[in-house]
């Protein structure tokens, strides 16, 4: 004796199958959609990263170039100051040499006056202050040379700095 399914049970089974099919299709659709969205995000991210990289590189180059300019400018300004100070020192040394020379001549003239007035013999008159005056003049003349050497070096460095 065979079992005959009741028509109600058969309808229920068909409905369940239909729901299962629809659920499967929807799930498949959602999955495909997610994969598509993920691919879009991935492409977009790669594109954004590709656009950011050259900008980052340009920025790094610009910053490096700016730092280089800043360093060279600082060196040039520093050397300008050093040169200005060295040149001022030359003028001071030259003036001190002139003063020392004039003083030595004054000392010599005074010695001659003393001798002419019969106050002392000529050698003693010159000896009294002549040695000191000549020593000072010699030192001042050497100082001019030193100042000129320093200024010459500073000028050379200035002309090569900042390059």
């Amino acid at each position: 004796m065979s079992v005959v399914p009741s028509p109600r049970r058969d309808r229920r089974r068909r409905r369940r199958s239909k729901v299962l099919l629809i659920t499967t299709v929807v799930a498949l659709g959602v999955t495909v959609g997610c994969v598509g969205a993920a691919l879009v995000v991935r492409n977009d991210t790669s594109d954004v990263q590709a656009r950011a990289e050259p900008l980052d590189r340009q920025l790094r180059e610009l910053i490096a170039s700016e730092h280089n300019a800043e360093r060279r400018l600082h060196a040039l300004q520093s050397q300008s100051h050093t040169t200005a100070v060295a040149l001022a020192a030359v003028l001071s040394a030259a003036q001190a040499q002139v003063d020392a020379s004039n003083h030595a001549v004054d000392v010599a003239n005074q010695a001659v006056d003393q001798y002419n007035n019969g106050q002392t013999d000529v050698a003693a008159a010159f000896k009294a202050a002549g040695d000191a005056a000549i020593g000072d003049l010699q030192a001042r003349t050497a100082a001019v040379h030193s100042a000129l050497t320093a200024a010459g070096r500073a000028i050379t460095r200035l002309q090569t700095s900042g390059g």
Binding site: R72, S80, L91, S101, V105, A125, L148, L158
Partner: protein
Amino acid sequence: MSVRERETARTDLARAQRDLHVERTTSSGDAQTLNRSLHAVKAIGQELTTLKSGGAAIAKLDDQDLATVRAAVQAGLAGQFDAYNAAVDQRASLDSQHDTSLEQLRQQTNTVIGTLNQLTG
């Protein structure tokens, strides 16, 4: 690669664009000042060279001055009045040349110092 990474990449791009713009517009000052300063130093190049030669001339005149003054004092110590007078005359003849050269050097030096002080700011 997540959505968060994508947002990070977008943020990085925006930051890079903004930083680059800021760098370009605000930080080229030093480069411009450097160029102006280099031009200024180049412009006084002739004066700087002249100062070197002018300084050398002054140094030579100073040496001659020292030699004549020393000769005068030594002649005085030795009681040699003719030699003394000759040395004094020789120094006097150098005087005007020395004064002129020194004044010229002073003017040139002050001009250069003025320019250099402007560079130093």
